[in-house]
């Protein structure tokens, strides 16, 4: 039973891995299109981790880019000193841990706030982080850090993206994960049923920050140039857009939306002067026609199995 449940995910991941590897080996995916793939991978990590906080735990955060920047700068400072693979891995680990720690520090006082108030507090937190990086000497201010060592190839990208997906999926299928979801559903009822809601809000928040830190570190180690303005309010909004578009509370929705939006954005790059206008108009249109996002709060696997069982039932009825 358990084994069969994991099979579709494993197959999807394996097919994706082989397909991109083959396309790259045959030269169909060139450096430019690989950059698009890296962006998609990073956005998947960002969106699914924000979905854990906002979609699953119900805590509205507008500061995800702040955590990403902590991962990015921490990793950059480490790989500058130690431009080796172990240095890169240390950078990812340290960046993610630093982001998670800040997540706990910020989360403890602010997660008592509800809804929009929390959103504003997290927005403020991200702006403060950005201003700090803007003013620190070690981060080189507004000019940022450049000519950083590049490590991320398809293997590393796949490892971290798929790893994030599997870990988040595992977590949501566990007792602590369900406790997080119960906070979204009804905080007072959850608390009365023995769920320490503060603990799980902070857990989800810092776990989200952790993976955002991973994404930041990957960004640094592929695009080798970072500056504070990359991680501004608009970046946080971009991530939120992916989450809402895919469906709050749907990991596969976030993955699909991350791919889709990046493809649209890449395609629109051919029309630089109207790119953002069209992107914005599309965003409004999608929300007007599908306010719950592409998948609502269900997963692709659930949708497919529902379809299959419907087809099965119909086939049976026809037999009769």
């Amino acid at each position: 039973m358990k084994k069969r449940k994991n099979l579709p995910l494993i197959i999807t991941l394996a097919v994706t891995y082989v397909a991109v590897w083959a396309l790259q080996a045959t030269g169909i995916v060139n450096d430019y299109s690989f950059a698009v793939i890296v962006t998609i991978g990073i956005n998947i990590i960002l969106a699914t981790s924000l979905n854990l906080v906002t979609g699953f735990t119900g805590q509205f955060s507008l500061g995800h880019a702040g955590f990403m920047s902590i991962g990015a700068y921490t990793c950059a400072l480490i790989t500058q000193k130690n431009p080796t693979i172990p240095g890169f891995l240390l950078g990812v680990a340290a960046g993610a841990t630093a982001a998670a720690l800040v997540g706990v520090l910020v989360g403890l006082p602010t997660l008592r706030l509800r809804g929009d108030y929390l959103a504003i507090a997290t927005l403020g937190m991200a702006e403060i982080i950005r201003v700090v990086f803007l003013n620190l000497e070690i981060t080189n201010g507004a000019a940022g850090l450049s000519f950083l060592p590049q490590f991320v190839n398809w293997n590393w990208l796949f490892l971290f993206t798929a790893g994030t997906l599997v870990l988040l999926r595992n977590f949501l299928n566990s007792s602590p994960g369900r406790a997080c979801i119960s906070v979204r559903e009804d905080e007072i009822a959850a608390e009365s049923m023995g769920v320490n809601t503060t603990k799980y809000k902070v857990t989800a928040f810092s776990m989200g920050a952790f993976f955002a830190g991973v994404a930041g570190a990957l960004y640094t180690s592929y695009f080798f140039f970072i500056k504070p303005d990359l991680f501004n309010f608009n970046k946080s909004i971009d991530i939120l857009v992916i989450v809402v578009l895919g469906g709050m509370g749907s990991l596969s929705g976030s993955v699909i939306a991350a791919v889709l939006l990046q493809l649209i954005s890449t395609w629109l790059a051919a029309f630089p002067e109207v790119r953002m206008v069209l992107y914005a108009a599309m965003l409004v249109a999608i929300m007007l026609f599908r306010p719950q996002g592409l998948l609502g709060s269900t997963e692709v696997s659930a949708v497919i199995s529902r379809r299959l069982s419907k087809i099965g039932r119909r086939a049976k009825e026809e037999e009769v």
């Binding site: 108030y117 507090a121 937190m125 007072i188 809402v244 953002m276 914005a280 929300m287």
Partner: protein, 294 residues
Amino acid sequence: MEVFLQQLVNGVSLGSIYALVALGYTMVYGIIKLINFAHCDIYMIGAYIGYYCMTYFGLSFFPSLLVAMTGCMVLGVLIEKIAYKPLRNAARISLLITAIGMSLFLEYGTMFLVSAKVRTYPAMTGFMAKTFHIGNVLVTMQQIVILATTIALMIALQYIVKYTRAGKAMRAVSLDKDAAQLMGIDVNTTISITFAIGSALAGAAGVLVGVYYNTINPLMGVTPGLKAFVAAVFGGIGLIPGAMVGGYFIGIVEVLVSGYGNSMYRDAVVFAILILILILKPAGLLGKNVGEKV
């Protein structure tokens, strides 16, 4: 002391602009619980309308101000009708994303139409160019006009909200939409009026900022918008007096931090104050905390 007074004068001017923009945020939030991200772009468009009135049509300050306010009023109502009204019963986050989309649309639509280049407001002449010295403190006529316009608009707003039918309807809808509807209040019209008033105030702020700082560009609304929103939250979101107090407070703090400390840190200080207020008094300076009924 003189330096301090000078900073205070500058802070009040900046604060007036924040307060005008904050009013729009707070009124819309009060009535449909939406952080209207497109609001800061209405302010930007107000600045552009004022700019074209003054340069192409050669209008003076006050007619330009009126045209900009009217234009923004229409724009605000249109945006509400097209993008927000269909989502009135949808999840609030979908509405928020729509507002973000609308904001991007206005920013990049403007950029497409008039290009991204920075425009300069025409230099003020005659009456508007006067300056005064009170001791060693310099006060420009522009600063006086900004403050006077802001105060006049705020008095008008207070009058509308407190004493007119539309204002009473606005307060009723923001307290309880369903009950207001049952009492025979046309909720849709009331929401439109709220957007109209808020947008007109933002339009006025846009022209004032153009006159005061001279340069405008399609992305000029983003940062002041964020800070005006902070001001609204600081004073207590949904509360009109809160937005005024918050606007002036944020404006003055920002100018003082740049004057005495490090101007690079001024945004951080603004947001740090915001977080502190939220933690200590989540409903804002003038707000009341309301618990959930079990």
